[in-house]
């Protein structure tokens, strides 16, 4: 066996893991989920909930899987009577002060207390006739509510704020069964990464005001996506309910964002549900735009491109997929091409506890991808060049102040009343990030795929598909393109 590897047995299954691995992690490899609350792989070990008690052969008493490191030949049993009894005992203790208000609790359906009680808890309580602990709901920060009655004091939020966000504004206040999560009297939970405490909370004690009573967990469809909030490229899950994005949550990605996303990214989804979308291709007839079908729109674009020569300028969004950006360049392959994008900049907000993780100043997901394809940041120069270009293509850049004497083709999701693109010869409706599949390249050059979470409205199609169809018809498409 390789050096530094440890062999052990968990519930009869042999596993080999690196030395220093915790039993609870080794168990995952054996396909065993040891119930737990305080343990979280992204936080320092606390060992306080005592839920992950397991039996280890030759150990004098039950051990917590989250704070026990593997040893060679260790035999771990999670399903023996003493281990199950101990965990049932913990569940009973956790429930005596926990309200059974699951029907009105946002966490219901994705609550670890519900899950494990259902799995191995008692069917009835023995805490009859005593009042449960009661404390009023508290507002911790701009988006976080604390419901102390549901709190099981796992301290994940406290440890997150202390060790990961490194702004220790939360603590455990009081002792014994009077304990609750306290916030510094002069502080608010307004760290740019504070929202993660809501995801970390295993029960419905820390809630997002944004998601409050918005949907039940079991109504949500979950789609793997990449955050468009900045150039960091955090892995996220888009939660949709009835084809509306209602929540953004972090998706674990140890190389980029570990288990976290920032509050900017978390709240950066409403635009995906905009109602004022372009739903059909528009072509200019008699000085005004008229709705039409894709065939006529394509024919118009092709006739423009075939009848033009010389300079072409592409003004693109750094939020477009790499596929769309490449296809847009390919479509204009016969021209003297200039491509540029501009990025909205904001303040950088790092998460101190995770190396190389921050809300980046560059508030767009695919600047790097655009550069790789050949677009530059010389946006002003490109705007200038557009004035005398034969063809100008604007891709998903609705506020682009474009002016041109040539033909203007606009691919976008929206078209404002005063938008310069109103002057376009052709307007093609495209899908937004939640409605298509594509690739972004983050600031570190990492190419990441995102998937379709909901259908595009009307006749809108993914930009990459639209552009590749036209490039094929023009004969400029590369071999193998157009399969998206």
């Amino acid at each position: 066996m390789a050096d530094g590897m440890i062999n052990l047995t968990i519930d009869g299954a042999p596993v080999t893991v690196p030395a220093g691995t915790l039993v609870i992690e080794a168990a995952k490899q054996a396909g065993v989920l040891v119930p737990h609350y305080c343990y979280h792989p992204g936080l320092p070990v606390a060992g306080v909930c005592r839920m992950c008690l397991v039996e280890i052969e030759k150990a004098p008493k039950l051990a917590i899987a989250c704070a026990t490191t593997v040893t060679e030949g260790m035999v771990v049993k999670t399903q023996t009577a003493p281990a199950k009894d101990a965990r049932q005992g913990v569940l009973e203790f956790l429930l005596i002060n926990h309200p059974l208000d699951c029907p009105i609790c946002d966490q219901a359906g994705e609550c670890e207390l519900q899950d494990f009680v259902f799995q191995e808890g008692r069917s009835g309580t023995r805490y009859a006739e005593f009042a449960k602990r009661f404390n009023p709901v508290e507002e911790f920060g701009p988006d976080v509510l604390y419901v102390p009655n549901r709190c099981i004091l796992c301290t994940r939020c406290v440890r997150y704020m202390e060790d990961v966000a490194q702004e220790p504004v939360l603590n455990v206040s009081e002792r014994g069964d009077r304990a609750f999560i306290g916030i510094h009297p002069d502080a608010r939970l307004d760290h740019p990464w504070a929202g993660n405490v809501v995801d970390l909370c295993p029960v419905g004690s820390l809630l997002s005001k944004d998601f409050l009573h918005k949907a039940r967990a079991w109504e949500l469809d979950k789609t793997a996506s990449i955050c468009t909030g900045c150039s960091q490229g955090c892995s996220i899950t888009l939660d949709t309910r009835d084809e509306v994005v209602v929540r953004v949550r972090p998706r674990p990605n140890l190389d980029v964002n570990r288990y976290f996303i920032c509050d900017h990214g978390r709240s950066h989804y409403r635009w995906m549900n905009r109602g004022d979308r372009i739903e059909a291709p528009l072509v200019k007839k008699d000085g005004a735009l008229h709705a039409t079908d894709w065939d006529e729109a394509f024919a118009r674009v092709l006739s423009i491109l075939r009848g033009a020569s010389g300079k072409a300028v592409a003004l693109v969004s750094p939020g477009a997929s790499t596929e769309a950006l490449a296809a847009a360049k390919q479509l204009l392959a016969g021209f003297q091409w200039t491509g540029a994008f501009q990025v909205v900049m904001g303040e950088e907000a790092p998460l101190p506890g995770v190396p190389n993780l921050a809300l980046r100043a560059e508030r767009a997901p695919n600047g790097k991808g655009a550069e790789n394809v050949g677009y530059t940041r010389e946006y002003q120069a490109a705007l200038e060049a557009a004035k005398s270009a034969a063809v100008v293509l604007v891709l998903d850049d609705p506020d682009c102040p474009v002016q041109t004497n040539g033909a203007l083709i606009y691919l976008g999701t929206v078209l404002g009343n005063d938008a310069p693109c109103r002057l376009a010869d052709v307007v093609l409706p495209i899908a937004n990030v939640a409605e298509e599949e594509g690739t972004f390249t983050n600031r570190d050059g990492r190419e990441q795929r995102y998937f379709q979470a909901k259908p595009a409205p009307g006749m809108a199609q993914p930009a990459a598909w639209v552009l590749e169809q036209m490039a094929k018809a023009m004969g400029t498409a590369r071999v193998g393109a157009g399969t998206a």
């Binding site: 009894d85 005593f130 455990v172 014994g176």
Partner: protein, 426 residues
Amino acid sequence: MGFPHKPHAKETVVLSQYFGDADARTLKGWTKRGGYAALAQALKMDPAQVTEVVKESGLRGRGGAGFPTGLKWSFMPKEKKKAHYLCVNADESEPGTFKDREIMRWTPHALLEGTAIAAHAIRAEVAYIYIRGEFTEPWTIMTRALEEANAAGVFGSIKVYLHRGAGAYICGEETALMNSIEGKRGNPRIKPPFPAAAGLFGLPTTINNVETLAAVPHILNRGAAWYKGLCLSNPKSTGTKLFSVCGNVARPGNYEVVLGFPFKDFLYDLCGGPPQGRKFKAIIPGGSSVPILNREETEQTLLDYEGCVATGSMLGSGGVIVFDDTADMVYQIMRLARFYAHESCAQCTQCREGTAWTTKIMERILAGQGKTTDLDLLLDLSENMTGKTICVLSDSCAAPIVSGIKKFRGEFEAYLAGKRQPVMAG
């Protein structure tokens, strides 16, 4: 013991020799009585040699666990790469225990001397003496003694600091005490790592009880063989031990006897037996955290680590709590449970919720509203609270419940059957 009683003939006064002697509190008075000779001698010895002497003496920790002191010292890294710390646990909060308080009140220099010797033995530059917050008089006396000792430079290069607790029982748990010194909430830490590997500020640390360290100068002065010879029963329990006696007893107070002393003689001869016209009913031999003994068990017990275990309890800290036949055991046990519920640090689920639930059931029984299933429920909860948490606070709450129900079930049942006048304990 010297104070407030005259020593009984059967006592062996070593630590308590100067209790009541105010002159022994001063550096001058202490030196006149032979103080700081052991420290001077120790500082000339190799640290490993000092540890060896203490190991040889058989001295065991007097805080409750009874771990061999020399062995504990020898766990410190052999090769010193980082700073070492010594912590002195003077957070004596165990209900029924008040021996360290008297050591600090009357012989502060004995503790300081023992502290410096131990610091030398474990090669610690700095020693912290963590004194219980409520100990105002010991605090003043220790502060004065430390000032005197520092002014006289008796510690050499060792720095000794006093740190005052803020009143949490749990800070007497060794790792909670370290967290408290570090300025954090006094929560016990998961072990391993043990303090000798990563203790105070993450550095190798040894922590000893006040009484343990106060015995060390005597061992160096008179030799390990002398100390080892102080033994009446099991050779693993050597030396003298202070017992704090309180409750229904004719002469409460601190008594110092050689380990292995018969409990029966201790209670009847030294402490004068029960108050007139009464009989002993139950005894807690080692502070509130250990199982309760009934009279028969007590009278067979020998007062040493093994002797108390043999009759089903523990020597613990030596805080003897005595109940006579007028005591209501259900009420007494409820008070103990309430104490632990109040002092639980709230980290571990079983302790946070279990101690409070246990207390509520005990109060319900006392109020005459108990259910027939309550005793089984208490025992089941106690089982869930034993051996499953970071520290032993929840075990300590369970111990008197389990032993109480086992030995005094009749009293519980009398409440349950409505044969006893309800007590409103709230």
